[in-house]
């Protein structure tokens, strides 16, 4: 489950995305791992062509029938926004996909994340268990920007690592969480996806889903190997303190919000369930705007304290923000 749009995020977004999708699709196909690629093209800018219009030309070998492509009306971005600095409500977009994905297990990832061998092994061996949120550490790589083909040698060469390889630590197993969250479909629906009540920040929403999962009695585990991410300009990871002292101006929101300390309950209509969807091409859909699908601007009852679980530490420390 991937989301994106043709807005040049981090440089040449489309090229990065196509390259990554090609690699992952090839690896999944080579191992005969049945999969569906759900792509949410969220609020695409009107002045650029849709990714949908380019993808099948850029990757002619991509089987259209393993894809489900949803273009989401841009009006949702402004109707849902609680922070005009966030130009892309990434996790609302992911929820649209989670809601509609048909696989037994749903992996939410990002468009520039390459699946590692151990991840593919786990998928191939069908070693996944229900009611477990699987995480994979992210290895940031310095790769040439004008890269055409990606190989295992490039991904696994330690000399390409942009920094020390991350190790996931219990209980949250944070660090690049948004790049790899995998749960069985039923449990993902049970927790109602990512937090869409707190739409003030984009940063930390991925960590918050771990809190929600733990509070809901799900286990959180390392799947056994890394995923790889190609560093690019504009990445939060490259300079997380860029907006220190003026957090309210950050394009990802205030990173100090209590993402480790609070849980949430999304409305039953999470993932724009009530939005009218029409087919625009084979396996391609347009999610039309409707106020019926828009959750309330404020839903304070949707923010609550996470249930403590035996053997797990108390939720995060209170940090004075202002």
């Amino acid at each position: 489950m991937l989301t994106g749009r043709n807005d040049g995020y981090g440089g040449d977004f489309a090229a990065r995305f196509f390259r990554t999708l090609q690699f992952n699709h090839e690896q999944l196909t080579a191992r005969a791992i049945p999969h569906e690629i759900v792509f949410i093209e969220w609020a695409p800018p009107s002045n650029n062509p849709l990714l949908l219009e380019q993808i099948f030309n850029a990757l002619p070998e991509l089987d259209r029938h393993v894809c489900s492509w949803y273009v989401v009306d841009p009006e949702y971005q402004s109707a849902l926004s609680l922070n005009p600095r966030l130009e892309y409500l990434e996790f609302l977009a992911k929820n649209v996909g989670v809601r509609r994905a048909r696989g037994e297990y749903i992996l939410t990832s990002n468009c520039d994340v390459y699946l590692g061998r151990r991840v593919l092994d786990a998928l191939e061996q069908r070693a996944l268990e229900p009611r477990v949120l699987y995480r994979a550490p992210r290895h940031d790589l310095n790769l040439p920007e004008n890269l055409h083909d990606v190989s295992w040698e490039m991904l696994e060469d330690p000399r390409n690592l942009a920094g020390p390889a991350h190790v996931l630590k219990r209980p949250y197993m944070g660090s690049g969480t948004g790049d790899f969250v995998m749960i069985d479909r039923e449990a993902f629906h049970e927790i109602r996806g990512f937090n869409e009540v707190y739409r003030v920040a984009r940063i930390g929403i991925d960590r918050n889903v771990i809190v929600k999962a733990l509070a809901s009695g799900l286990d959180v585990r390392d799947i056994g190997g890394p995923v790889y991410h190609q560093n690019h300009e504009g990445s939060y990871r490259l300079n997380p303190k860029a907006y220190e002292g003026r957090e309210n101006e950050a394009p990802w929101g205030d990173r100090r919000w209590h993402s480790s300390g609070v849980s949430y309950v999304n409305p039953p209509t999470w993932g724009l369930a009530n939005a009218p969807v029409r087919s625009i091409a084979d396996q391609c859909f347009y999610v039309d705007f409707s106020w019926e699908a828009v959750p309330p601007l404020v839903d304070l009852r949707g923010i609550l304290l996470p249930a403590a679980r035996a053997g797990l530490p108390a939720p995060g420390q209170y940090v004075r923000k202002r």
Binding site: V200, W257, G261, I303, P315
Partner: protein
């Protein structure tokens, strides 16, 4: 000769007057000494009795103090136990308060965001209305 006379007198239980007087003085002295010792013994016994009573009293005091000390120790243990319970309760209450603060802080973020969004949405409308009112007919 004198010695023979003295021996002869002694055989009849007699002694020279000077010697008898000397012996009598010795006996009187011994009696006076005995009396003095008796008095001293009586005093000493009195003193011993008094000290015995004092020891008894002190022993009672010590016993009383030991009992009090034991009670105080028990009380101290109880207070320490209660303080530990209170500390745990206070820590729990503090943790809960912090968690509630987190939730409130998060909700305030949402409210602030919503207020800003609504302000941005309504400001142009209100501004237009004002402009319309002020516009010359």
């Amino acid at each position: 000769m004198k010695t023979l006379v003295l021996r002869l007198l002694a055989a009849f239980g007699l002694a020279p007057a000077g010697s008898v007087a000397a012996q009598a003085r010795l006996v009187a002295d011994a009696k006076a000494g005995a009396l003095a010792w008796k008095t001293k013994t009586a005093e000493a016994m009195e003193r011993a009795k008094s000290l015995e009573a004092e020891v008894k009293r002190q022993a009672q005091t010590i016993h009383r103090l030991e009992t009090t000390t034991e009670k105080l120790r028990q009380r101290q243990d109880e207070i320490e136990r209660l303080l530990r319970v209170r500390l745990v309760e206070a820590e729990q209450a503090l943790g809960l308060a912090r968690e509630h603060l987190m939730a409130i802080d998060t909700k305030l973020d949402i409210l602030e965001g919503a207020a800003n969004v609504l302000d941005a949405r309504t400001r142009p409308v209100i501004s237009k209305q004002h402009d319309g009112v002020r516009a010359p007919v």
